[in-house]
Symmetry: C2
């Protein structure tokens, strides 16, 4: 299967520590890299990950709280010093330009590449990026400030050719794409060879959603049906459910409920409050509702 | 002797790496902490140092290049989340307010403490801070943008009482401060006991200067005469002397020449270009001119 990996660069909540950065991730789809949020220290974590800086296509910011954006200007500046020339597109909620354009103008004035800011409407779901292998769509979330998640969906790929059958029936190269697309083959004597004898099924279409920060939002599950892997914030344990509501965050159990309702393949919990000595309580509370749950940790790589 | 320590949080040049942050230090004088520059990652390094966040009195920025300031907004935000209520004064060159006030207004709007920005004229040397134990003075430097260093000078302390002699001569408590200040004692029968029989000399007055970023500036040595410890940038080795001049930085040899001309007690080299696999070449070139030279490294503590 083609590469579709998630690299967790940071998964803490507001307070970064030497052990855990605040929010930042890389989605690697066929060596095209997409960044989700950019907390302070992201550029150092990116170096540690050994991912190529120059393969970064775009950055998607969920919202303009410091623990999701304070690493942006430093990283942009570093890209300039390293001689990046490729345009870099940055997506984020309203105020993105007002807050970051002056910083970019001041600190990246000599940068040899262009930074293009895109403010998005966080109240609706919309396609932001599309190439021949992936679609990236925003997902409305509910937080104290305008905020959205992001959904990565692979495009369906063609069926796989069975080389032995192609040879056996002497099917010409010019017909291969039609066969991959599902067409049957008719031999010279008029026999129909059904496509499923010439091909094997395509790779399953995979998807990933990054949902942080948000209060519990049941409607989200409808947008995430059959998602391969869901990252959902789980700032608090059940004992702090009221605090979660008040601060517009989710509990681990609420994250699990979304995964369950979405028939997700896997749930990754993140954005842990630093109040918990161990996040095991969050894992346990989520697994009671949705068993295929794991805890994010800095430096973790998930292959979809 | 009272505490006078330097903590190197970061000593790299423009490109931060997981191994080495860009510029940031703490000067600890009798548990009052003063920060010098604030590169990205400074708040995490400060946690690692186990210094108390709440003892931070003021921040002094040399200039507004990213590798000296990108950690500021994140750290200020964290102080707010941790409930700091004490005012925090930040000193830096022109544009400090224009660049940072909008960020502070946006990201630290709910912070329970006051941040006061002070723009300073980097062309003259002026006293910026004074308490009963220390004076902090700016030092004009020459870089591509307005830039200054900072000089920390202990104030002279009183002589030390010799307890045995005070008891022997029955000198009353009311006179102790006069004796510490250097006064002789006259006994009831008119005998003069000279002060140096009642006291031992005061602790030597110590000083520290932080000089980065700057081109070689011979006049600087005059402001640093008999300095206890000098931190001077040494971005480049001799082979890149022309590049140093062009980018308004110094070579290790030039840093050593300043230390020699200032009759410094000790020289610490820092702000190393990431182009050198090992900084030993910088150390060697400096030691040929000034032997009491050492290389800064992240996490290093120097006791004066």
């Amino acid at each position: 299967m083609e590469k579709f990996e998630i690299h967790i660069l940071g998964c803490g909540a507001a307070l970064p520590t030497p052990k855990r950065l605040s929010s930042s991730q890389i989605v690697n789809i066929r060596e095209k890299l997409f960044m989700l949020d950019c907390a302070e220290g992201t550029q150092m974590a990116l170096r540690r990950s050994h991912l190529s800086f120059s393969h970064l296509q775009a950055i998607f910011l969920t919202h303009l709280h410091g623990d999701h954006v304070f690493g942006l200007i430093g990283m942009l500046s570093t890209f300039g010093l390293l001689g990046r020339i490729q345009d870099l597109h940055i997506y984020g909620p309203q105020d993105l330009t007002r807050i970051f354009q002056p910083q970019i103008d001041y600190f990246c004035a000599d940068s040899p590449y262009k930074i293009i800011l895109h403010e998005i409407d966080t109240k609706t779901s919309q396609i932001l990026y599309e190439d021949r292998s992936v679609t990236i769509t925003s997902l409305p979330l509910s937080h104290r400030v305008p905020c959205c998640g992001y959904l990565f969906q692979e495009k369906p790929t063609p069926r796989h050719i069975r080389r032995d059958m192609i040879d056996f029936h002497h099917i010409p190269v010019s017909q291969i794409n039609n066969i991959k697309a599902g067409m049957d083959w008719i031999t010279d004597d008029g026999t129909i060879i059904p496509n499923d004898r010439l091909t094997t099924p395509p790779d399953p279409v995979r998807s990933y959603a990054y949902c942080t920060d948000t209060t519990y939002r049941p409607a989200l599950a409808k947008l995430l049906q059959n998602i391969t892997c869901l990252y959902h914030e789980a700032t608090f344990a059940q004992e702090h459910a009221l605090l979660a509501k008040k601060t517009h965050h989710s509990t681990a159990a609420q994250a699990a409920q979304i995964a369950l309702d979405a028939h997700a393949g896997k749930l990754i919990l993140g954005h842990f409050s630093s109040r918990y000595k161990s996040e095991d309580i969050l894992l346990q509370e989520a697994q009671q509702i949705f068993s295929h749950t794991l805890l994010a940790e800095d430096g973790m790589k998930i292959e979809l």
